[in-house]
Amino acid sequence: MAEDTDVEVTPGSTTATVGRVQRLPLRQLIQIGLAILIVTFVAIGSYKTLTLPSGEGYDPSTWKAFVISGVAQGGIYALIAIGYTLVYGVLRMINFAHGEVFMMGCFVSFFFADAYASSGFLNRHPYPALAVVFVIAMLTSCLIAMLLERVAYRPLRNAPRLVPLITAIGASLFLQNTAYGFFGPQTRAYPVPDVLSGDKTWTILGITMQRIQVVVIMTAILAVIGLTLFIARTRTGKSIRAVAEDREIASLMGIDVDRTIMVTFALGGLLAGIAGVQFGLTFGQVNFHIGFAVGIAAFTASVLGGIGSIAGAALGGLVLGLLQSVGPPLLFTGFNIPAPFQLQDVITFSVLVLVLIFRPGGILGSGEAEKV
């Protein structure tokens, strides 16, 4: 998609046929018009909201709460979005089953967490118990991501691009129904140890946050830093970059392409597993279809940030989380629109469309070659 738009816009201004010249300004005019319209709407909406009399508007502590919950939600999105972005960077393929990889990690770790909770181990020794739960979730997600690659994608690696996309959707349905079949349809209560329960807070830099929110945000930051270092500094990271750049040349240089791609999936799976446990601890629930909605949101985040870029995925997750929590009250309260949060998706996807119109590669996704 990104390539198409570039090709049409840039040569059009230099090599001008009559048709091109007439079409281009119109397109740009529409873009500019759209931009002005939206900027005006956002500006007026925000201004009206922020200047509401004190009884009707929001006080600073409320804004702070909106931002914190948005950032924490964004952290979970970011961890999953990185999985989408890694695979896209290397294979130019959207792994639509990644949301289910996340769900499986969450669900399998639930059984361990639940057993620890009923034996009392979770509350008596929360840190080792949580460590085990995290490791289990990471291993599960990692294993499923690798199996997916081996079974569903590798045989189709040289097939047309549409084919693995369809398999990905099939794999997603398969995993969802597997979870349904094995674990049943009910929503399960994910046990949360007392040390991380919702009423326990930490104060960092003068901001009081729930502990679980701090954990989510810190993990997301660490994961991005760690992954960036891994890809920039290690030998495996170098081979991932090489395969992303050109698979054939990389294999001619002696890089084991199959192994490298497997590692990429494994990395995405590890992070999805972490996100799975954090989701469980944040919301206290798990069921077989959580992967769908969260997966779509994380995919949106990765496109928003620039698919193929790790920092982009993290930024996209953050932006998406913030848009969902801060956007509705900021834009709509001023216009006196009732129940603004039902328009959450309108904001999210409007922003996505706009980013794709004005920056087709996403917020950070400018350089095509240096992705990953």
Partner: protein, 444 residues
């Protein structure tokens, strides 16, 4: 995908079944018009169902038996099965009969959604031998979907748990739709009374997820509360595919209402409670929900956040036939399904089948050859003509707009003392009020 191996035989079987059904139907319809022609006019739309001698009466169920709200529909299905068992007067595991015919259920799933209601109703409507349907579990599956699809075929749809007011409101009511569940105008009015008389609440906020059940109930409550002099300071809408309601609850917290009424389904109820307790502005707010929250895992899902919350639901201890319910129905339920009731509408479902059985008995014409001819219109009229029918829950008299429970006792339960499995306490409500439909519509 996993079922690919089974696809071919299934398709063949389906094709065969359709041909067989088509054949049997045309022959039985012809038979019906000759023998029972004097009493029943089967030419007028929507026609008749003829049940051959020895053949079962087929009744459809369209209940939410999978997914998040499986407990709600499964519980109702258990009620229906117990009613069929008790048609012969005892809970002995041997199904009873209506007019000498066994009852056979065709079970479909409404998945608690409009899509599920559409798919299930279409399947049931395609079976020409379906006499009537018990369902749906969720208002959203019925409103404008299942009630229309089945109504167009002249099939009576009788719901044990739909409570949305629009289903039985002038203009949106389908003439073939009835329910034994209470109209939420009544529940909304009782909740409002509870808020004002018991909690002394002056301000309230509501939250719903756009599904007809939650929207109907919050609207009914908000109207009744405002009529009674209360102030609704915020009315919010959530998207139930999301899990993070903290921003919405933070916005509500800005107004610090005395009461937050968030009737929803189980998973969302738990999320609202848990996240709401972490919002500073809601520290002095009382949380209230409704019977849609009730499922066997609700108390576990909500955890300690459930303490201090209130839930409105049909008052089980005010049931008309309380002794029968406690001494015969509940033991039979436990014995046959191995659990205490898992949701709130099993008794309504039990009553629904009995109401239907009485109406079938009234409308059916017994032919000399032992077959039964039921004119669809006559069955509809018989259901609507139900007067003073004794049920477990209440005495049913159906109105022309489809409400059969016209006087309802709603209780308010103080969590965790709820009338479901896993609760602590005696399962008795702390507040209970009986209202008639006329009172509720008059005040709302």
């Amino acid at each position: 995908m996993r079922h690919r191996r089974w696809l071919t035989p299934l398709v063949l079987l389906g094709a065969f079944a359709m041909i067989a059904a088509a054949c049997s139907n045309s022959s039985s319809a012809a038979g019906g018009s000759t023998s029972g022609g004097a009493a029943v006019d089967c030419n007028a739309a929507p026609g008749c169902v003829t049940i051959a001698a020895g053949a079962p009466i087929q009744i459809g169920t369209l209940l939410s038996v999978s997914g998040d709200n499986a407990d709600l529909g499964t519980d109702s299905l258990y009620g229906v099965e117990l009613a069929i068992d008790h048609l012969d007067g005892t809970f002995d595991g041997t199904p009873g009969q209506i007019d000498g015919h066994a009852v056979q259920l065709q079970q479909e799933d409404d998945t608690c959604s409009a899509e599920g209601g559409q798919a299930g109703a279409t399947k049931l409507a395609a079976n020409p031998d379906i006499v009537a349907v018990i369902g749906t579990s969720c208002s959203g599956a019925a409103l404008g979907v299942a009630d229309k699809i089945l109504g167009d075929k002249g099939i009576v749809l009788l719901s044990p748990s739909n409570t949305n007011p629009a289903l039985t409101a002038q203009g949106t009511h389908n003439p073939y739709y009835f329910r034994t569940a209470h109209n939420d105008l009544i529940q909304g009015a009782v909740v409002s009374d509870f808020a004002i008389k018991h909690l002394h609440a002056k301000t309230a906020a509501t939250i719903h997820d756009e599904s007809p059940y939650t929207e109907g109930l919050t609207t009914a409550f908000a109207n009744a509360f405002q009529q009674a002099g209360g102030q609704v300071v915020d009315a919010e809408v959530i998207d139930s595919s999301q899990q993070s309601y903290t921003p919405v609850l933070t916005k509500i917290g800005q107004k610090s209402p005395d009461l937050l009424y968030g009737p929803d389904y189980t998973a969302e109820c738990a999320l609202i409670l848990k996240q709401g307790h972490q919002v500073a502005g809601l520290a002095n707010t009382t949380f209230m929900g409704s019977d849609g929250c009730f499922a066997s895992n609700f108390i576990k899902l909500a955890g300690s956040a459930i303490n201090g919350a209130y839930y409105s639901a049909p008052n089980l201890s005010a049931f008309q036939q309380k002794d029968f319910y406690n001494n015969e129905f509940i033991p039979a339920y436990k014995q046959q399904f191995g659990t205490a009731p898992i949701s709130a509408f099993h008794a309504h479902a039990y009553d629904a089948l009995n109401l239907l059985a009485a109406a079938i008995d009234k409308a059916a014409v017994k032919n000399a050859d032992g077959s039964l001819t039921i004119a669809r219109n006559a069955l509809r009229d018989a259901v609507q003509g139900t007067t003073d029918l004794q049920g477990i829950v209440t005495t049913y008299t159906c109105t022309s707009l489809g409400d059969c429970a016209t006087a309802v006792t709603i209780g308010v339960y103080a969590a965790p003392n709820l009338a479901i499995e896993g609760s602590t306490g005696n399962g008795q409500p702390i507040f209970s009020e009986t209202k008639t439909l006329a009172q509720a519509t008059g005040s709302g």
